[in-house]
Symmetry: C2
Subunit: 382 residues, 2 copies
């Protein structure tokens, strides 16, 4: 089984670490210097450097988009079902780039990295980041790779926000923008869930004001709560009902606070796994970046029509019917503003029970739409 998955996968990959020594000015007015970004690439860059696709990752993912590592066969890229030879994002045709976001915890410089100025972890001193900052950092990688213009930028969820922001920050640097299960801004409810997750971490006594590395501990309870809560919002009500329903671990009620419904066990297990590999400070930073994103903010009453007036590329927008984290209405709002601005936009609302998580899963309609659109892009690559 494992072998089968691997043979269908992109195959063996290695990541590279790029060091940037110049200062990167951030939206907050602060800056970061001597930062590293980890990247992974798939396929070959053509002679004219016109076949590059940038994939932007979501909250807990990384540069490791597809394939596996020779020393860690089970660590398969998070979008291996979408990216690879003859897959919708076809690495026989395109040069695909994954970049671990600045501030993340999978190799790129983040709160748990050593700050060269102080000689110890950044911790709470790591500057706040925005989606725009991530895009600016990604642009540095493309400059390094000497890629003038991308055939496409593709992202789901938070990655979709980065793709949208690219189309505004560097409108002439991409031909196509594919935004999946995303939104142009968080709702009050989205911000509220993020705030509960943050408070869980911030009020964990082991958070130590963000400098828990020095205490050789982690705010495990807070991080677990944040993950459990996040996980609920990634799944649809229907999906949870059909996967777990009211199934019990034992025949009878236990009258205890141990996990007795299957859904409780599942969430605890997911939370534990997450707390073992994800950094709490990164979680805090990413939720704030999510909250801040709102390209329409500077226009009267947050007018998205004005907000998107400057884009130049073509768009494919995809949403999922049971996604209640970023409901279809969020995608439709982007589509309408693009139409208002007479931009080229295709839109699909995929029928699925799998909620927000659907953007990561195989679905014949979703994958066909992606494959068709991306094939069409290839015809225009010179």
């Amino acid at each position: 089984m494992q072998e089968n998955i691997l043979s269908l996968s992109y195959g063996k990959v290695t990541s590279q670490t790029l060091l940037f020594s110049e200062k990167l000015l951030l939206q907050s007015g602060k800056y970061i210097e001597n930062y590293e970004l980890v990247i992974e690439t798939y396929g070959k860059l053509n002679y004219n450097k016109t076949n590059a696709i940038l994939i932007c990752h979501a909250l807990n993912a990384s540069h490791h988009v597809a394939g596996f590592y020779t020393d860690d066969l089970k660590n398969i890229g998070w979008w291996d079902n979408m990216v690879g030879p003859n897959k919708p994002i076809d690495t026989n045709k395109f040069f695909v780039i994954g970049i671990n976001n600045l501030g993340s915890c999978f190799g790129s410089t983040g709160p748990k990295s050593i700050n060269s100025l102080s000689g110890k972890e950044y911790g709470a001193n790591f500057p706040f980041l925005t989606v725009e900052d991530w895009v600016n950092a990604q642009k540095k990688v493309l400059d390094y790779l000497q890629i003038e213009k991308l055939a496409a930028i593709i992202g789901g969820s938070l990655g979709g926000m980065q793709a949208l922001s690219w189309s505004l920050q560097y409108p002439d640097k991409l031909d196509n923008c594919i935004i999946i299960a995303s939104t142009s801004k968080l709702s009050a409810q989205n911000i509220a869930f993020n705030e509960v997750a943050r408070q869980a971490i911030l009020t964990d006594p082991k958070y130590h004001l963000g400098n828990y590395y020095e205490y050789n501990t982690i705010p495990e309870h807070g991080l677990k709560l944040a993950r459990m809560l996040g996980h609920i919002t990634y799944l649809s009500n229907e999906d949870m009902a059909s996967k777990f329903g009211r199934e019990l671990k034992f025949d009878q009620y236990q009258y205890s606070f141990e996990a007795e419904f299957e859904i409780e066990s599942y969430l605890r297990h997911q939370a534990k796994k997450f707390s073992q590999y994800f950094d709490a400070n990164t979680y805090l930073l990413i939720t704030k970046a999510l909250d801040y994103f709102d390209p329409a903010k500077k226009y009267g009453q947050g007018d998205l029509n004005q907000g998107l007036a400057g884009v130049m590329c073509k768009f494919l927008i995809i949403s999922f019917t049971t996604d209640w984290r970023f409901p279809s209405s969020c995608s439709i709002e982007i589509v309408k503003s693009l139409i208002h601005n007479k931009k080229s936009v295709s839109y699909a609302n995929i029928n699925t029970p799998h909620g927000h998580d659907a953007f990561l899963l195989e679905n014949i309609h979703y994958h066909k739409i992606m494959a068709n659109y991306i094939n069409h892009i290839f015809k225009e690559v010179k």
Copy 2:
């Protein structure tokens, strides 16, 4: 303004504490003895004792349904807009009873009460409770009041589960059952949210395995997180968007973890208030009772048609269009099962933006439907 509210209110009320010295056997197999229940009544019991209505309260409410206390004018009952003279539940016609649930923290015996056997607070030793246990305890109050049969039992949310359970546990002891914004069982998503809330409390170092009273502290952070999360599920996405949207407290982003969106301030404020009056052990117990409730459980595949076959009273079921905690589909499931069993049932789905909280708020359609149905009950009172 304050005076206006008071003049429209039921008026001055006092509560009474009833002591029950016999053992009450609980669903868990444990029992409780020498327990107190606090009650409040409104209106007058008629000669035949046939005009009594029991109101069952939800998670954070109490016996204090209507009116105010002379020494605490601002402490107005939680359903004062529904219960009073000439109000939908008309205290000129009915004798209305509010009972603080066993295990609660507003006077009835609960985890923070002194256990007469040990001489100290029950704490973690307070037995687990179920909706059925609450109903059995309420029945003791009615026996004390020598009320043989209730004209109606009415409850919203968790109170609606108690009303439904009454119709099954004591089918010949009520003529009418009004179930508002409720469900016959929690979904996996509902249980998941409860589990996050419980883990927030249980993993707070100040929880001290439930015996925090001895340490003269409370698991404040955990309780606040639980309340913030609960609060999100009480409001609809639409309601939150129109009340708070992305409003900021300051003109510009602060790049800090202080509250900067209005929704963050609101949730923190609500959480703080709640943590100052509600007991964390009670919160844990109530969420477990919610999770356990499932009158169809003992029938094949949880068949609600079989589960409700034994009811004898008439029903009014009310849901609210934007309630996503207990969506209209949960009410419709009850309605369908009652129809399947050829029982008398009326149903209304009230159009409102206010989510689950709508059951506590004034709404002309909702209140008219309640008033009409309850007037109809009065015509049948002998």
